[in-house]
Symmetry: C2
């Protein structure tokens, strides 16, 4: 999507190690008007899919999932990264490796909020190797929920996550796919 590529070019910052910082508008400070455009873009792709819930992982995914859910008028459910004292009852869990934080963590989702009657849109800010997304897909499989698709703001197309997920037959909608980042700040987006 042109609007997101433009914003990444304007405000994104490339750091050594293929890190793209978008913390001025997406995952530390949040531009809610941009978020609304992102939510609408996902809605236009999945409006006829009978979505019943939008699933994401805390924390950066929450704002994006809510922006989309406003268009669908369905609930957001977010997987939690730590076992809270305040989640009781039965839960789905899956183990995820975070490259950002350099450790494994467990995601937890109450069984009350995902089940076999659900058709789910999974949403996250980034897709790189796909570890967090695989955790969410694992939870959907445990719940018997149907996955209608995967909505991603920024896919690092030079890493294998998107290719593998598409190879498995998932519909992956990435609003911006980066094929190359250079240490001088150059960003090459994949053409539609």
């Amino acid at each position: 999507m042109q609007f997101l590529e433009d914003r990444i070019r304007k405000d994104g910052q490339v750091r050594p190690g293929n890190i793209l910082k978008v913390d001025s508008f997406l995952n530390h400070q949040i531009d809610v008007d941009l978020l609304d455009e992102i939510g609408k873009a996902f809605y236009e792709q999945y409006r006829d899919e009978g979505i019943t819930r939008i699933l994401t992982i805390e924390a950066s995914g929450i704002a994006i999932a809510c922006a989309a859910a406003r268009y669908f008028h369905v609930p957001v459910v977010f997987a939690k990264k730590a076992k809270s004292r305040n989640i009781d009852g039965e839960v789905f869990t899956s183990t995820v490796h975070s490259f950002t934080y350099g450790r494994d963590y467990q995601i937890t989702l109450s069984k009350k909020y995902l089940g076999p009657d659900d058709t789910v849109l999974l949403i996250d800010d980034f897709l790189a190797v796909g570890k967090a997304m695989n955790g969410m897909l694992d939870v959907c499989e445990q719940a018997g929920a149907k996955v209608a698709g995967i909505g991603i703001c920024i896919e690092k197309g030079f890493q294998e996550g998107g290719r593998i997920l598409r190879g498995k037959g998932y519909k992956v909608t990435s609003l911006a796919i980066i094929d190359k980042m250079e240490d001088d700040g150059t960003i090459v987006f994949r053409k539609d």
Copy 2:
């Protein structure tokens, strides 16, 4: 606010130890239409205060802060609970004790996203003893930002956080204040 009190009565669950679970609509599953009403209620209280940024803490506060920010058309900034490899540059930090998770943690906010020119609305889902809010106020003080007020969805009025903050002169807007919870599920709200 009647709409939130009604929803708490309908879907909130009281657990021993003065725990109120609202995870079916506010902090695990999220009802985005309810969130929109919450955001609008905060806007009506602070629309004339010259708010430049809305500050919250990950994770449950993010959705609420974004719902409010849509009305104000200002950015949300959320303090992070873990030191990410992806935050670089100068940061404000403050230490917070979490009763939910039973440990201390540090909140981190990039200095780029809060400063002396800001007039801030602080938002969170719950206010009890006020530890998380004190961490955010500490960050605002470090930044030299003006605090216009504090917007809370659910205040546990039988704990001291709200009283202390109001005593210090802060404007605290709690959409529902609970004065008493009984183990049989009875919830007594403070009258306006």
